[in-house]
Every structure is written in structure tokens, then in C-alpha cells.
Symmetry: C2
């Protein structure tokens, strides 16, 4: 399975990245990520919603999310996890489907093939949350950027922070 | 990493398969497969040749072969291994490149995306050699078949048998 060390070196030509320090321990951030009921609460920028999530949390396991617009239009995104290292590293790709079948064109994933990885790095009492998204080429990176990568992924990290802040308060 | 049990169920609509009993033990067949100098001797139907092979034999590792026509035209095929279980199971895909970067279109792999797996199953003193090739859709399977899958993969298994037969004679 992928380990962080096998990950492609970041290439500004083809890749996108976003990171943020979250004021909550890795345990909580990992849990908000990997519990589908929690993930649904922050995965897409509101007022969009995530009515469905399938996550089979192991390399090769399905990772499918359905995004829904405020008007009720649904967008399916399917792929598989390629790495699951609890509380450290999770990565998934749209290029393969369960059973390791190649996905072919990118119709099942919003028109853009990507492999994304999240590193959860302990940072004092908090977490350094580092997302890197690899694309096959410059055109895909540009399309993803034009679709609002930085706003979108930035917003959902804020939503994730809300969830873990509430979890932290509950834990007290 | 992929284990055989995670492999997609064979679908005659989208997939191709070929199997053969080889009269040599799994040890020898595995070694003829995983030693690049031996693999070069049987990987493509003669008089085509395989002037270059890169194999980094681990999940995520590069698997790149260059096929050359008798006229000297070269065809590059790149991908990564997704499973390497010594003497039991090896699988690779053209849908991802090293670093788990999605490959995008299929220009780097002869126009067809596939994930292929080989099972090496002990069968008495011999080996049951079972190749399964998964495609994203029916059109890719048909194109692969029209390009001569059965002849091509059949011929190279014969060439593999020649190599392991020679290895068996040497070992005596």
C-alpha cells in the first residue's frame, strides 16, 4: 500500500495542496474524517450536502461520496482508498474502482482524475493537516483550480474545524 | 495492497482471461516472471523484443516495459504494481503511475487502460498460471481482444514455458 514516502513529489505544474493547523489532537481529526456520519457534516461546502458516503476504510476499499446541490442535483464521486494508516495518512484515487478495475474516463468523478492524500501530523496539542492532490497533467490541475479548489477545500477544512471543536468541547 | 480476494469478480463483458498449466514448479515460474533479464526473453511475441524493462517489485513500484517491432518502432507501457505476493500473486495497473499519480489518458499504455493480475497456483509438480485482465468497459475489452489478446498472451505463455523448461533442465 502507499506510504507517505512513496507519494509523488509535489509538482506545482500538475498538483494542488492546502494545509492548515487545527487546534485539536490528531485523534479527533482522524475520527471526524473516518466516521461517515461526521464526514457527511463537513465534506462539501454548505449549503451543498453529502447525502451518501460509502467508505470501506482499507487499501482497495470503495470511497464513494454523493454531493448534492441546494437545488437537489446529485454528483457521484467514486474511487478507492490506496492508503489507510490510522491517525497518520489517508489517500484515495479516482483512477481505480473497487476490485482494482481501471476507472477509464473521469465521468464518475466530476471530469477530473486525481489521487488525493491527507497527512495528519501531530503539532503540539494540535494537528497539522496537509492535503495534496495529484493530477495527471497541467490541464487537469488548471480545471480543478478553476472549479474552485482553494475555496472549496479551504471551506471544508473550516467546516472540519467546527466539527472537531464541538467534539473537543463534548470530550471535556 | 491488493490481495487476490479483493480482485474484481471476472466479468465477461469487460474482462479477459487466459490460463495454462505449466510443467514447472511455482518457484521457477515466479523467477522467470520477476527477473527482468528473464522477463525480457518472453514478454512479447517474437520477433518483437523487449529492449527495456523497469520493475520496482512492490506495491506502488514502477512497472515499465518497452516493446520493439522488428522494424525498430518502440512502444512504451508504464504503470505500477498494485500487488506483489511472492510466488502467489502479482498485479499491476496502467491507471496509476509511480507516486500514485493518476495516469490520465491511455497514451502511455497503448491506448487501453487495464489492471492485470497473475495467479501462480501450485498444481502437483507444476503451476496453474492464471492471468486476468480488467478493463474499464466493454469497448476497451473489445479493443484489446481485436489487438490480439488471446494470440499475444497465449504466445508469450508458450515463450515463458520455454524459459522455465530450460531453467528446469539447468537445475538438474
Amino acid at each position: 500500500m502507499t506510504r507517505k514516502r512513496d507519494w509523488a513529489r509535489f509538482n506545482p505544474e500538475t498538483d494542488l495542496a492546502i494545509d492548515r493547523r487545527i487546534d485539536a489532537p490528531v485523534d479527533l481529526v482522524w475520527s471526524a474524517w473516518t466516521d461517515p456520519d461526521r464526514l457527511k457534516q463537513w465534506w462539501v461546502p454548505r449549503p451543498w450536502t453529502t447525502p451518501e458516503i460509502e467508505m470501506d476504510l482499507r487499501p482497495g476499499g470503495m470511497f464513494r461520496t454523493v454531493m448534492q446541490s441546494p437545488e437537489g442535483e446529485r454528483f457521484d464521486n467514486a474511487g478507492i482508498f490506496v492508503a489507510v494508516e490510522p491517525k497518520a495518512w489517508i489517500a484515495w484515487t479516482s483512477a481505480l474502482l473497487p476490485g482494482y478495475r481501471p476507472a477509464g474516463d473521469a465521468e464518475h468523478c466530476g471530469g477530473i482524475h486525481m489521487t488525493a492524500g491527507i497527512e495528519f501530523r501531530p503539532d503540539g496539542a494540535g494537528t497539522h493537516y496537509i492535503a495534496t492532490v495529484l493530477h495527471p497533467d497541467r490541464a487537469s490541475r488548471e480545471r480543478h483550480e478553476a472549479m474552485g479548489f482553494h475555496d472549496g477545500w479551504g471551506t471544508v477544512i473550516e467546516q472540519l474545524v467546527e466539527i472537531v471543536t464541538a467534539m473537543k468541547a463534548d470530550a471535556r
